[in-house]
Symmetry: C2
Subunit: 418 residues, 2 copies
């Protein structure tokens, strides 16, 4: 069978299975996820021995230690996957919710009911825990899922897929509802991305290269997240202690993630005092500063920032600092260099807080809080399937609700149109 026919067949089976999953009760879906969690724990030995095959191939290929670390599955990480499934089981089911119903002059009632999207395709790299996490979120929201992990995790992903499918079968449900693509042929991804009749949404999870590749080759809608160039603007009226606390947390608490701060903007009226203070505090945290010329007037030891620094997603202990004329220039800088991820203002001024909230068009806009809160779990959405920095369908951290859509429901009593 050609790779085209193989992927088409697989996706058609998944679509068919999706019709069954869409109509399951919440109780059955929750039982399924809890059974899957127990099965992962019960089969930990098998997962670990399959994972060992991936690890030894990775070592043979000379993969970087950080990459290898991401690949490792041990008892603890398998327990983490199982707990993740139990947490998703405990979340409210978005399917069937009627998000409003109104009566028209002719008496028909019109409402909107939340329904699953159908089939979700997840294209991801290295971390094999995504296999279980994504399957859980898709099933709970009534969707079937096609999972295409990286070739470096093929044994681990296949083992996890087998275990999840075993639980579907044990409950009399179609195992095609969770499909792990088992060919490592790179053409498989290209074929999947053409199947717009079978797959409703593609979510790529991985580096910018993977996301661009998927986005450029997909006929199916893609929800994407290129990078997080997050800004914090310290306004003239900011309380210095709060501003310092928020900036240090946003930069240094976990610099390698997309919601950490990359550029600090400081109002010119407080630059003389605040710049030396924050530069010192950042230095104590081991953060290297790259500043604009005004920043360097007040902190001469700071390295000069170049145009690239304003675009940079460092993901490490480096921070770009720019002094701006005020709110207007801060917003302009964010519009020009930002990536629509998360932006913060620290201020005591009500009007500036409101304007920042209204006018900054990123997916998350905050007043007086660390950008590190920009996360589905922190927002109370439950586990996160991804984060979108494009505006269609979802914008920002995505939870279960973002794996659904709404149809119109109309209740009549024989009305006809005049």
């Amino acid at each position: 069978m050609s790779i085209h026919d193989e992927m088409l067949l697989l996706a058609r089976q998944t679509k068919e299975a999706g019709r069954v999953i869409a109509n399951l009760s919440t109780a059955v879906k929750d039982e399924l996820l809890k059974n899957m969690a127990a099965a992962l724990e019960g089969n930990a030995d098998r997962i670990i021995s399959e994972n060992e095959k991936d690890l030894s191939a990775a070592r043979d290929k000379g993969l970087a230690p950080a990459m290898i670390d991401r690949l490792v599955l041990d008892e603890k990480r398998i327990g983490g996957m199982a707990d993740g499934l139990r947490e998703v089981a405990a979340l409210p089911d978005p399917v069937g919710e009627v998000t409003g119903m109104w009566r028209r002059p002719n008496g028909i009632q019109v409402g909107r009911m939340r329904i699953p999207l159908g089939v979700i395709g997840i294209i991801y790299e290295s971390r094999p825990n995504v296999t279980a996490d994504a399957a859980g979120l898709c099933l709970k929201s009534g969707n079937a899922v096609v999972l295409r992990g990286g070739s470096e995790a093929i044994f681990s992903n296949s083992a996890i897929g087998d275990i999840l499918q075993g639980e579907l079968e044990r409950m009399g449900l179609p195992k095609a509802a969770v499909q792990v693509v088992r060919t490592t042929d790179r053409k498989a991804v290209l074929e999947l991305l053409k199947l717009e009749e079978e797959i409703d949404l593609i979510i790529p999870r991985g580096g910018e290269g993977l996301i661009r590749f998927v986005s450029e080759n997909s006929r199916i809608p893609v929800i994407k997240h290129y990078k997080g160039v997050c800004h914090t603007f310290v306004d003239a009226s900011a309380e210095f202690a709060m501003a310092e606390r928020i900036c240090i947390n946003a930069k240094a608490q976990r610099p390698g993630v997309c919601n950490s701060m990359e550029t600090l903007l400081v109002h010119k009226d407080i630059a003389e005092t605040f710049v030396p203070q924050i530069v010192d505090a950042m230095r104590d945290e081991g953060v290297e500063i790259r500043g604009c010329s005004i920043t360097r007037e007040f902190a001469p030891q700071v390295k000069k920032a170049t145009e690239e620094d304003w675009h940079a997603e460092y993901l490490e202990l480096i921070l770009a600092v720019r002094v701006v004329d005020g709110l207007e220039e801060a917003i302009d800088h964010i519009q020009r260099y930002g990536s629509l991820h998360t932006e913060v203002i620290v201020t005591r001024d009500y009007g500036n807080a409101q304007r920042f909230l209204r006018e900054v068009n990123s997916s998350v806009v905050m007043v007086n809080a660390s950008s590190r809160f920009s996360d589905g779990n922190q927002f109370g959405l439950g586990a996160e399937i991804g984060i979108s920095t494009t505006k269609l369908h979802s914008f920002g951290p995505m939870g279960l609700e973002d794996l659904t859509t709404r149809k119109f429901v109309v209740l009549g009593e024989g009305q006809i149109r005049q």
Copy 2:
């Protein structure tokens, strides 16, 4: 300038203008739309004389009379466009609405605020009234718009565009917020469809050929609507008089539109009585019937339906009729042959009504009402920008709200992440 550079420049100007439109108050937007309405009426002579150029070119090219009729702009149609703008001005402004706000355990408040998408691209055919209608809906929802009509309406569309831009300028607003593409080079569309950094959403309006072309060539998300193969299922418990009234209305009141009925499904338990009754009633309306073999048992004069009839969007006085075993088979038929547009059940059975509402996965699902109600205006959404039969972002008739997205807003008091 190359067509690529020309479209890129135009789209960049539109994006820049979009930032201004996004932050306008509702009052200013409403004033703008009312001024535009008055300007269209005040310049009716100019529009009509430009329209005459399109009409004479169309006659020279030998366009079909129906096509020419769609092109015509007279005082009445110009008045209709103006009224359309005034109606949009009277609709509530979706921008800025906070659709929920909740408090997290650490005290941060998290909410979602509705914001414009940015720049909408509309690709449409023949009817020049779309130029004003779409511009009004995009502006009211805080978006800028690039309008690319068909070459057969280029003089009419350009004249309308000039008048709308004149009103933007008169109010000190950037005229690039409403851009009519004035080149008739077909490459212009292909170039526009690549500008994913500048244009946030493409809405094609026209025949299936146009929509497929746009969808296959776009790097920008497309909201599409291929066709409307709408079904009515008359259940065993249906009240015959109501069922007949609904079916006649759904088929014959305006057969040429996408929400008219194309296939009637009849429960086998009532086929012997209901099939002859509805066939007679349809004949009185001039409707040609194509039936399955059971239909033809009870109405022998009926033409035999072929497999193509179940797929057909007739858009004229033809109806396919099939007798089904019951609800299950009706739903299966709809899943297999439907186009995810609008499906109706006529029933007195509560359980069947609920199951139909829940399990049929089309964008509009109705109980005891004519499919002809499937329309943004009829649903109370105000003017309709289009209808989506794909699930991402919007599903079903689209109003102003569907031209927006939601960002997260977070109100803190100095919280940092532990």
